[in-house]
Amino acid sequence: MLDLTVNVHKLLLKNPVMSASGTFGYGIEFDDFIDVNRLGGILTKACTSKNRDGNRYPRMAETPSGMLNSVGLQNKGVDYFIDTIYPKIKHYSTHIIVNVSDSTVEGYMEVAEKLNQLDKITGIELNISCPNVKEGGMAFGTSCPMAGAVTKAVREVYDKTMIVKLSPNVTNIAEIAKAVEDEGADSVSVINTLLGMAIDAEKRKPILSTVTGGLSGPAVKPIALRMVWQVSKAVKIPVIGLGGISNATDAIEFLLAGATAIQVGTANFIDPQVCIKILDGIEEYCNRHGVKDIKELIGALDS
């Protein structure tokens, strides 16, 4: 019998496949297509202390094997989440992890403290890496002191599993990972989107209203894989790998590079059933390779 369970700090995941924040709504958007409960966990759309309208349209540009987005953390705020969204998703029998973002340390703390009260929210993912907001977001994730400070502050008000989502838009991601580990992060997710840009040559104008945006999709996979490998060697806490994962082989590669679990992001837009296909594919890979416990694959790169 194949054991697919993995532990991300206190969270026992039934398998390592999770959905990435901002690509899966709150799970309910995918109920028509898959049994969301089969996933190891779902990462919700980002939640901030106050309502955020997000950036102006256009917020998306298709790029070679990927896309740029500049949604800008559109959401109705933590109180709306608790009153209106939480009742609709708390029936899920999988881990629901809320992605937490804001423009101030106090804002992050307010959201985390309120989410700490919700039984079925078993963890949070601190988003210190969103490239699409003017204040906060990535600004917290691109310097060790800032990343450490926000992690430490939220740690003081949040007891459950706290994952910190790292920005790839840095010179040395392993240093940032160590900084948040030192301040109490239980896990890191690697990576958020890469800062990019798209231009409409005919109009001589940027495609995105914000000019720059976050690149995701298969185009970023090799970079994500490299960063997961670097981070997993630098920290003791579990690493969650993401960035362009589109099939089971991609997922296995991230596990081999050192990820304990993986998140599927942009691929959900192409195929709303892809998370389940990846899960089934991982099982098939394990059976084909005589792997009895998925944990055998974590960091098992033969190099």
């Binding site: 901002g22 690509t23 899966f24 709504g25 958007e29 995918f30 028509d32 297509f33 759309k45 309208d53 997000g54 102006r56 349209y57 256009p58 917020r59 998306m60 540009a61 298709e62 790029t63 070679p64 094997s65 990927g66 896309m67 987005n69 949604v71 559109q74 999709g217 298969p218 942009t266 959900n268 837009f269 192409i270 195929d271 709303p272 059933q273």
Partner: protein, 256 residues
Amino acid sequence: MKKFIHDFEVTQNHHITDDYFAIYLKCPVDLPQILPGQFAEVLVSNSTTTYLRRPFSIYDVNYGKNELSLLIKTVGDGTAALSKLKEGDILNLIYPLGNSFSLPEGKKALLVGGGVGIAPMLLLAKLLHEKGFKPDVLIGGRTSNDIVEPEKYKPYGEVFITTDDGSAGEKGMVTQHSVFAGKVNEYSVIYACGPDPMMKAVARVAASHDIPCEISLENTMACGIGACLCCVVETVDGNKTTCIEGPVFDTRKLKL
């Protein structure tokens, strides 16, 4: 409404004019009900430069044959790849997506389609006719090449044509057509789909006559199911997704 993902089989790829084609697709199971204005997210698998799905209005539905069709204009690599599909090819669709046009208050309605924007008007004309309304259809384009299958609307209502260069119907923009000068006040609603400037012009004329107006937007989108929030449009009630809360919007709610 429940959404589905299915592999459809191409039964016909009908090239209508230079750039326009209609793909007829057979559903592997019984087709669910599809409302006028709804769309499908199509996976383009035979293009190396097309990563995301492409949204297209559902053009026609034949429940008896278990078929739906998409009216497409070749504009880029994705649509060029679709134009080459042949009978028997497989096309993956997520559908039916989005809201739909609402029924008129009064008997008469004007349906305005510009270029490929005419696509959702066929199902709408059919439905209105079936429910006892009187739909008039105004089809606009740059040239006669953009006037696609006008005969399809004739069983359901009167058809008017306008082109920028006068190569078919009246010469000028849709809002310069004589229906707007003459009997426009007879309409209890105007529906429009087409290029943004056209829809804005129609919305302005409708507003000046105090006629309700619904337009179908085609904002660029990634998922089509309300997850990515890329396709938003500014409304008086804040940002709304074109894919779930649209694509059809009452123009009085939009910040045009």
